[in-house]
Symmetry: C2
Subunit: 150 residues, 2 copies
DNA sequence: TTATCTTTTGCAACATTGTTGCTTTTTTGC
DNA sequence: GCAAAAAAGCAACAATGTTGCAAAAGATAA
């Protein structure tokens, strides 16, 4: 028998897809579920691996693209030139993301977290510059990797 | 006759390379000069183009790597998965970068600027997280693209 | 300046990542 | 179930990045 959480996540995945007017397909269900089961963010490569040999690489690319467009997931810029993706928790939708939170990359375990409660600060820019979106990525040691005596 | 600024930049480039204990080669001189002549940041591809067909792609990759290692240039993370590089203005050196400034990417012209005078803010993290380095990238409209009446 | 040693370059081959057009398969709405 | 629409898979390709190695260029000291 399937584990109960898997079923819950499958239902949740289907709900999320329907909410966004997307048709329900195996790959979309599976990829949304991966995000739901996951604490941190996922890179394209992670998804390919975690989904097994099940889906074509192109399908994964296109699925992620659709999810970003619809405001289901957002991208996280990192220094190592690999885009990570994470679920949008805010009221993002088609054509407008509102993820104004800080991201954290752990030096030790490599996991990327959305710190949903830490909002991006106001940045005072020099004269002539107009700010749109602000991205903040903090690198350091995460709560799971913290040693008791450090 | 060569333009005077070119000569100045060549001397400056040589000085910078010597300072960092690097041997003086055509490609290193040329690439440092490109950075000196440039207001914004450069991506790998920009450098290949601007250097003409002069240098091998591999040489450019390796040169940029050496420059980053030596603290001559630093990388700038961007959302579009393309690493940009810019000269370090601070006291960076081999094995330690100290570029704590904000970066700005113009939506309109695409140029990436180092805002050397805008320092990265302190970020208050949730319990258990320890901050190392903080990266801030602001996206918006730059001083050159600003229209008079906006 | 030349000889020698060391470093860097260019080349070739390869790996990884991302893109596009087209055909087949799946999903949806009836 | 059936037809139309959407998505997936496949193949071919483009772009980007990496590695090993031989040739060339740079540094050093006689
Ligand atoms: Mn996030
Ligand atoms: Mn900078
Ligand atoms: Zn960690
Ligand atoms: Zn601009």
């Amino acid at each position: 028998m399937q584990k109960e959480t898997t079923i819950i996540n499958e239902n949740q995945a289907i709900r999320l897809l329907k909410q966004n007017g997307l048709s329900i397909t195996d790959s979309r269900k599976k990829i949304v579920q991966l995000f739901l089961e996951q604490d941190g963010a996922l890179a394209h490569g992670d998804i390919e691996k975690k989904a097994g040999e099940k889906f074509d690489r192109v399908t994964v690319y296109r699925t992620l693209q659709v999810f970003v467009d619809k405001g289901i997931i957002h991208t996280i810029p990192t220094a190592d030139n690999s885009i990570r993706y994470a679920l949008c928790k805010d009221d993002c939708g088609e054509g407008h993301h509102h993820d104004h939170h800080v991201h954290f990359v752990c030096d030790n375990c490599g996991v990327t977290y959305c710190l949903d409660d830490v909002v991006t600060p106001e940045i005072k820019l020099p004269k002539g510059y107009t700010a749109g979106h602000v991205e903040v990525v903090v690198e350091g040691v995460c709560k799971n990797c913290k040693t008791p005596f450090s």
